[in-house]
Amino acid sequence: MADAQTSEPIRPVLAREPLVTNGRSMSWVTNKICGIVENRQPALWWYLFIPSVILMGVLGYCLAYLVVTGVGVWGNNHPVGWGWAITNFVFWIGIGHAGTLISAILFLTRQKWRTSVNRAAEAMTLFAVICAGIFPAIHVGRFWMVWFLAPVPNANGIWQNFKSPLLWDVFAVSTYFTVSVIFWYVGLIPDLATLRDRAKKGIRKLAYGFFALGWRGANRHWRHYEMAYLLLAALSTPLVLSVHSVVSFDFATSIVPGWHTTIFPPYFVAGAIFGGFAMVLTLMIPARKIYGLQDLITHKHIDNMAKIILLTGTIVGYAYIMELFISWYGGNKYEQAAFENRQFGYYKWAYWAMFFCNVISPQVFWFKYCRHNLWVVMAVCMCVNAGMWFERFVIIVTSIAQDFLPGAWDFYHPTRIEIWTFVGTFGLFLGLFLLFLRFFPVIAMSEIKGVLPESDPHYLPPETFTHDAEGEKLSHKGLKKTAKKTAKKTAKKTAKKATKKATKKATKKAAKKKKN
């Protein structure tokens, strides 16, 4: 490296924000992420996990009670046969979509910031789909007949109706879950190898080693691995768009006023991504704080996700307004009545709650201040989480509670069992996510290492440049001096902090002793 090296001209305005701040090294990344799995969990983990397990128990009880007693324990009846079960199904399946969007679509579009959030978002997808899958399965009424959904002929030799959107849904959701698991697992293999290599012995070494498949990081392997990952991303991209489109076909192919619209597939997909990103942020902002991942999940990441929420929220708002316009412009009186009922009927509170949460609240993200203030981001995400549930509730319940014949109209409200079943799925979701944090690397280490500046084979550290862009000789003496100074300063600061902490502890102990 004796040749004169010229540094690139510096254009500070065009400089990109680094994806990993504070110039963290690769081994720092490894230690940080593996440390979460290898060390004891913070007390907060237990405070969240124990209630989650209790709620899981509640869920199990509600499901068992339903199966043992019968579907009468739910509020579903004519004319509202779908009620909360299908609302919750669509809600949860929508949550999952952000994970696949981050992992697949942002991968194909080379959005490198995805690397910090994709692992957790994909895990969230899996858990959301698990929660979603419960509802149609128990909604079939006789749970032991759920195998009727599978493509197997029944006792009379009759097969399923493959022309029905409900059957498409079975295929779409099960494929989605399977492909998401594969995608997630393929992404995990190199990181499991890291955990295997750090584990010294015992069950941990055995388990991680088994699932790491003997990964050696060989470039001849990376070649096929990267191709597999690329192909899985390319397959997941249309898949994720198809899943919520198919879910929307459940509604759109019927003739129920309020459901029978062609806008449903894109509107559902946008809504799913919208709600999913809100859930990703809801989970990741606290996790980032608790585990100290601020250098990996930076403000830039949160800012980007807030912008996606703004974009998709505005698309959803457009869809709401377009639905109203079409119902008026279409001239179908049943359609018009359905939308009038939505806005001003029994369920108007749900409609306006949805409208406020999904359309109005994300508009604050036009302002940088709001995208960078985590309390505002969390508040909006909570609004969106609630708003997207209300959206599904509004679509399902208001449309069928009052359809063609006024004599058949009825008011639907859930029973306690239904409410606790839904609350229970939150316990399941959160519990599974906490277990994921406990046992798996929460951030894709191999991918994060790949986006560090020194991972570029053409990267040269700034000290190696002997000449600047104009060809003038650079001296690094000044740089080195300042570096030394700052190092000294930080060392002093940390030392001061440490002494302060120590004195505080000592005084506390003394106070305690005195009390005793």
Binding site: T175, L231, L232
Partner: protein, 183 residues
């Protein structure tokens, strides 16, 4: 006890992705065939620096996906049209029903392709393989942290115990280690 050992090859450590990239170019130009670079992440452009072609996996996946499409079509066509024509919503029971079969055909195409991508890449990589001579090395486990290793295997026709060692030293390899395997 058997004390015979077989030489697996040399591994040499490099500190940065840049170093291992340029070292790989030299090893490629020297004409080696059975060698590899072990890194914590896929290094951009290393395939060409090693003289590797594009992965063949996409062909496997294409075939897998095509099988998925055909499976879904036959499943639906045979059951809905041939063996038990099911008349629902006045939709035809002939090849004209095809549009209603598209969603399931699409889903199974994706499903079969995804499985082919997973198992195809495992087969091409000869994984899982939980036992490998490289795991005997103590320093090698750092490949999954922040170290880069270049491994030249003894089965390469150009391999020689002294010449290869010298070459690895010349291209900047550090802590070079001879990896041996129990027979």
């Amino acid at each position: 006890m058997n004390t015979l050992k077989r030489v697996h090859g040399y591994i040499a450590e490099f500190e940065t992705a840049r170093d291992v990239y340029h070292a790989a170019e030299k090893v490629r130009d020297a004409g080696f065939k059975d060698w590899d670079v072990h890194s914590p992440f896929p290094i951009h452009g290393l395939d060409s620096a090693m003289g590797l072609k594009k992965s063949q996996l996409s062909w496997f996946v294409f075939i897998g996906g095509a099988i998925g499409t055909v499976t879904a079509f036959s499943l639906q066509f045979v059951t809905q049209v041939l063996i038990y024509p099911t008349l629902v919503q006045d939709k035809p029971t002939n090849i004209g029903t095809l549009p209603a079969f598209f969603p399931v055909m699409f889903e199974l195409t994706v499903l079969f392709s995804a499985f082919t991508a997973l198992f195809g890449s495992m087969i091409l990589n000869k994984l899982p393989r939980w036992n490998h001579p490289l795991f005997a090395s103590d320093q090698f486990e750092r490949f999954s942290d922040d170290a880069f290793f270049l491994c030249i295997e003894a089965r390469d026709p150009q391999f020689s115990k002294d010449e290869t060692l010298k070459m690895l030293k010349d291209i900047g390899g550090k802590s070079i280690e001879l990896i041996e395997d129990d027979i």
